[in-house]
Symmetry: C2
Subunit: 480 residues, 2 copies
């Protein structure tokens, strides 16, 4: 008996991210992990659809009737979450197919990442999904998140109620990108979608890329991959989607030993790193280099305009930083901007010798007692300079809490006039003050990066994407 789902014309992946009914199958005992947590999190975060817990030995959980099997559930189910022993999964999926379930998140582990037998089991469930018309995410996944709709079917309790809605989509072959692992609630940007592929037996990076390309909430797409399924298709999809949104990619398994570790993590076959690099270049992906970058770099695309070119300006409180930042900027393909004669005059009239490529506020700060009185004028001159495409902005927290409040007032005004791509780095003698100012500036709309190199890299990525987009536009103009 094939019962049609409640909605039939949507994108196949929308049954994962926008389901109207969710079945939660297995592990209903209280704890910080499992189906009990899934139901609690869905309730707490305003999921407006129906929830059906399934377990042979429970009668009721959190006020919901528990069904002994998915077959007994009275209405159509869009999405199921399976958290059982690995050997029970095939039979459950067969029953789901009978019931017309469209999407299944298989949290259970013990598949290709474990051994031969697990690999066979994984093949079996993949076949069941294909035949039964169920798209499978996983196995061995920590699930997905769509915070704007309260769709947070994830087996870990933590961090979900602190997830903010926003423009960054993060997908990866690790639960490390889920909120139980990463402090999204403390960060200055919001999330559109999160998706942990797990072993990636069915739903993969190409599917996600297509779906997120169309997703109106997503402004930037970020992937962490251990392997790729189909390089050709990835390039083809990438070329289309990058015209709409930047795609950032981190890939592990670069070394032989890393590849071995990959295989026992998600059972993925590693791809030769040089081949992958070629795929990235062809597809116009922005390749990331470290795990920390996954969470830091996307925000430049969430809140800032794209730069018109790669001319890089800098305002700093210390020349030492200027030197390091310039090195890194050049290495990453930016080039130093030369301010216009008008800007140079303006800056030199504010303080002698200030009008240079690296605008060093150190000397006036030491000399002018109330240096924050000249600071807005300096920043305005720089942000209005037509020779500067993007700006590395270094802020010293200043001598007291009063400075923090003053900066916040100044940046609120600067936000009104700013159209450049600005990446900020804050330093000073107290972490608490750095964090306070970081939080406030990000709220105003200036992304703050946790170190100097990260800020420069964000500008370089924005500039590279702007270049890719420009080239795509030229090509289209030529074709039409």
């Amino acid at each position: 008996m094939m019962i049609p789902s409640s909605s039939t014309l949507k994108h196949p992946l929308s049954y994962f991210f926008e389901p109207e009914t969710i079945g939660v199958i297995g592990l209903l005992r209280e704890g910080f992990f499992g189906g009990y947590v899934v139901i609690k999190t869905l309730l707490k975060n305003g999921f407006s659809g129906k929830i059906y817990p399934v377990h042979p030995s429970y009668k009721e959980v959190l006020g919901f009737k528990v069904y002994p099997s998915i077959r007994e559930v009275p209405s159509p189910v869009d999405l199921v979450l399976i958290i059982t022993g690995n050997r029970s999964v095939p039979q459950i999926l067969r029953e789901c197919a009978e019931r017309g379930v469209r999407a299944a998140i298989v949290v259970s582990d013990g598949f290709a990442e474990r051994d031969e037998e697990g690999a066979k089991l994984q093949k079996e469930i993949t076949e069941i999904g294909k035949k039964g018309g169920i798209r499978i995410l996983g196995p061995n996944t920590a699930g997905i998140a769509n915070p704007s709709k309260g769709v947070l079917p994830n087996p870990y309790e933590l961090g979900y109620d602190r997830l903010k809605s926003g423009g960054v989509a993060l997908c990866g072959q690790t639960g490390m990108i889920n909120p139980q692992a990463f402090p999204y609630g403390d960060l200055g940007y919001g999330i559109s979608k999160i998706c942990d592929f797990g072993n990636k037996c069915d739903v993969d990076e190409c599917d996600l890329m297509e779906y997120l390309g169309e997703d109106p909430e997503t402004k930037v797409i970020v992937f962490y991959l251990e392997g790729i399924r189909d390089g050709r298709r990835l390039m083809e999809v990438g070329r289309r989607v990058r015209k709409k949104k930047p795609i950032l990619v981190l890939k592990s398994g670069r070394t032989e030993e890393g590849a071995k570790a990959t295989s026992s993590h998600t059972g993925a076959l590693a791809v030769n790193d040089r081949i992958f690099d070629a795929v990235c270049r062809q597809a116009g992906f922005l390749r990331l280099e470290s795990f920390g970058e996954l969470f830091e770099l996307p925000k430049i695309f969430e809140s800032q305009n794209l730069p018109k070119g790669n001319r890089f300006g800098m305002v700093t409180f210390t020349g030492g930083v200027g030197v390091l930042a310039m090195d890194e900027a050049i290495r990453l393909g930016l080039r130093p901007s030369i301010p216009t004669a008008e800007t140079i005059d303006k800056l030199n009239s504010i303080y002698p010798n200030l009008g240079k490529t690296v605008i060093d506020i150190g000397p006036p700060m030491a000399a002018v007692n109330d240096y924050l009185s000249i600071y807005p004028k300096i920043m305005e001159a720089v942000l209005n300079d037509e020779n500067i495409d993007c700006l590395f902005n270094v802020i010293w927290t200043g001598p007291s809490r009063g400075s923090i409040e003053e900066y916040i007032r100044i940046y609120r005004r600067l936000k009104e006039i700013n159209e450049k791509t600005v990446a900020t780095w804050i330093y000073g003698p107290r972490i608490s003050l750095i964090q306070e100012l970081t939080f406030s500036l990000e709220e105003i709309g200036f992304p703050v990066f946790k170190d100097l190199d990260m800020a420069i890299k964000a500008l370089a990525l924005a500039s590279r994407y702007s270049l890719i987009k420009g080239a795509d536009r030229d090509e289209e103009d030529f074709d039409t």
Copy 2:
């Protein structure tokens, strides 16, 4: 009239770091920068020597009599700090020479970093110092710090009272390494000495390296350089000092544009980066790659034993991190350890399939309700394994504050048995919990790194230094 200093047999640089008398010349008005601040900071931090403020237009400051010139000061002066306009500096230094002053920190700017005229002025003061027997630090420096003796003659007010004494010496061509810029008070390690070279007209990296090599408080020496003065001498000194202590070096001005920025920061001539790399290899320096590493990596040497080799073990809560960490470790010259058969048996008896190179606590954590009950046994087995030289230890903060307290209890016990080099990285859904656990573990004696790559790099540096030291020892054995 040449009055001998109060102590005459010390290392020339000890007049900077352990002066018995300090003259503070210029800028005595209240504010967050200047001589007034210097005196306040010295008083606040228990400097036990004498302080002589010098200024023509003040009579008294902070209870001290102000002398119109250094000539009027009644007793010998070891160290002076000069914070005046650049043109006054030569005459002041001449008077200091007359008075037998041994060391001068020239904070004033407007020398080689500014223009031709400044470069001439710098040459002039260098000559005066040479003839008059005064060692000069700077010009254009933010000074030095020796927190264990309360010697903090620095023109910025901030951060000095929060500086902890410890084993890390930081020297650099930027005030960015001083406590007004960096939140040392919030970090888990202590400082032996800080020194900002400024334009480096006299005292340079070789002088500091020699002095710090002998300094009993210093366990690890860290340099940020924009240029080097004498490559041959640097190699010669480096080869001697590295036998006692690890020497970490970051150099900027790698690119032509960075070199240009260097010149307008400290007037330094940039050195070809490949030549510098050769100097580092020859001298056995551990070369750093980014500004953030300056403050993160040294602590591995402050609190951990050196590893016996480069065999790298890993305990992680997530396989994804395992893959990334393995890639980075291999790239940096570590190799994966294979636990002994005994350890593998022990781990597999704690939880099936646990005994591997990458020990992944993810599966038992999801399956065992009270996973922290098996955690100490896993860690003990790993820390006692003779096939593991150094360990990358990943901690998930856990589901609640209770876990934090439990971890602290566990690590206190582990500290008793641990002899390995351990670098820890903590992740989780709340920054506040990560910070709390970081602070506690560092206090216990396990350094925690702010990201994955940094932790791996710390282990790689420790292993590389261990190798260098071993080779030096072999050579000495051969020679004798």
